[in-house]
Symmetry: C2
DNA sequence: ACATCAAGGTGAAACGTTTCACTTTCGCCT
DNA sequence: AGGCGAAAGTGAAACGTTTCACCTTGATGT
């Protein structure tokens, strides 16, 4: 490991001078600077990030903490964050769930964080967030001066979807939930049940977990019943797709037998047979908004501006009854 | 920022003792240890990762360097890497392309790296890799004691695909390339042209860039020609899907008018109309293999074992001629 | 001829840990 | 009673930077 000391020696200057030359700070003569740079190149020198960051208290890096990579879901959010980062001179670090809780350590390796991992306790977030370590959360409604929630406006889309189903005369609706510790799931469910309540509809609830297979399994229960629902709202698209698969296997057809609606507008939802009606949002915009707010806080020290990302119902085949006349 | 010094003072012990207690090393009495832990909790102490890592020369973290997140492609590789990491007590950091070349610094924040970003020059990789910083590359054929390429066996799948097309009597084949700086693209193209050469077929080559739109655009050129090809091989699925879209818009139908083959077996390829014939591999296994090799090198210091990830042709609708009798 | 100043450069402290080498205490064995 | 060793604890150096405060030199203005 070559250090700045080696570079200095090789260039025949002091460590201080070498540091100034390498960072283009201080007042160093052109000739000397060049000598240092050459020495650094020759020795294949790379500064030690730890030593550097220990001294300067900033890393110019933001960290994103997610649960996992699979699921087509994070991808666009990350892409949105990344696009914003590319326009700044910050670095981006994405850190998935890891075994050791030592992950906490990692927190200090970045100037600010974006959290989207329900396994991280609210308490941890509260403990860590501070003026020097602002946190944007995408998966919980937690807020103070240093914690900013950027959430989907789940209610908006769900209301539109309910309206759409109701308008078509559907009255026997069921709801398949996602993971119960998910904020989005909770809000989707609550809104849907609320809307139904306004019309005095009782909506049976089945528990899923946001995976395709859990939608399929919920379908096994639902489709075995004596009386089938005429509409099923799934808390995300993957479960809707699982549900459709189960229907298909039993010779049932959406929307004629049961209208199906999902949530998220994942790419696949447009390509299934039938195409899945769903509730969409721009996840790229979501990630970008989060990143922008965080960077702004870090840079210009503006304060956090809570906001909701709009969602809207996308009417597709799986829920659109043919003209019955 | 509370430091270990504060904790020590608060617990009435020396800094050394506090450190030992917090790390569960050294010989510290039960009572003292508890006192320190309590103090740390009370002060909401989190060790400074930089100071720590500066001293210990290991971070117990591996870094993955990719170009971007979008594309459904990295997702599974990352998932594979992540799964392996979860079984160890390493941490995982994923770092996409960023503006400043300062990213080099980041390199030193991890014990080893997995590189999948053709924007990173071979030279950089060569410069950085060392006994203390092993690198696994997924996108180039670079190799020495500290650099391990884990590559797709592109040739295998491409040969099978060519064979499939040829067997069906197709002779007027075209090739649409991906990004020209991509190793995989080069290998796919070379193999395809090679195979064609063996049968004295001349294959026109059109340049794309791995995106759906570039496949669509290449199609505009190809489909405008007087004589259409009877088969088109696209260097990845997204371009194949773009190509199919263009065909659809012109009322052409695969495979009857033109047989189409992609590469990668992205989830979508199974859901399009018609389903896309493609060449698949387990990207999860790919990522997992890379991670495993890297961790093994880091841990048990086994040396690197070069290997290729197998690929195989998946025959689907877009290239399978109906019985013509 | 002398003070002043800018330009170019340097020594050493500091960042927050870990860890080596050392000290003290005390119970136990012979 | 003396010696020994384990257990519990500590002081200080070290990791590789950055940066503050300072020094030297030579040119400039008066």
């Amino acid at each position: 490991m070559t250090t700045i000391r080696d570079v200095a020696k090789h260039a025949g200057v002091s460590v201080t001078t070498a540091s100034y030359a390498l960072n283009d700070t201080g007042t160093i003569g052109e000739a000397t600077r060049k000598r240092v740079l050459d020495a650094a190149a020759e020795l294949n020198y790379h500064p030690n990030a730890f030593a550097r960051n220990l001294k300067k208290r900033k890393t110019h890096t933001i960290g994103v903490f997610i649960a996992r990579f699979a699921g087509s879901f994070y991808e666009e959010i990350l892409e949105g964050i990344h696009r914003v980062i590319l326009d700044t001179d910050y670095e981006l670090l994405v850190c998935p769930e890891s075994r050791s809780t030592r992950r906490m350590l990692l927190h200090r390796q970045v100037d600010g964080a974006i959290v989207f991992d329900s396994k991280i306790a609210d308490e941890s977030v509260l403990n860590l967030a501070s003026y020097h370590f602002p946190i944007v959360v995408l998966d919980r409604d937690l807020q103070n001066d240093f914690i900013l929630p950027i959430l989907l406006d789940n209610a908006q889309g769900v209301r539109q979807a309910f309206e759409h189903l109701y308008q078509q005369g559907l009255r026997r609706m069921s709801f398949i939930t996602g993971a119960m510790d998910s904020f989005d799931n909770a809000e989707r469910m609550q809104t849907f049940l609320n809307e139904a309540g306004k019309h005095n509809l009782r909506v049976p609830v089945y528990e899923g977990s946001f995976t395709e297979i859990s939608g399929y399994e919920a379908a096994q229960v639902i489709l075995r019943a004596a009386e089938l629902p005429d509409a099923v709202f799934c808390a995300n698209d993957q479960m809707a797709i699982g549900f459709l698969r189960a229907m298909h296997e039993r010779g049932l057809h959406a929307p004629d037998d049961i209208a199906v609606v999902g949530f998220d507008d994942i790419p696949l939802s447009r390509y299934t047979q039938p195409q899945v009606s769903t509730i969409g949002t721009s996840r790229i915009e979501w990630g970008a908004t989060a990143a922008r707010q965080l960077i702004d806080f870090l840079e210009k020290e503006t304060s956090f501006q809570p906001q909701r990302i709009p969602t809207r119902f996308l009417q597709r085949e799986s829920s659109t009854l043919r003209d019955r006349s």
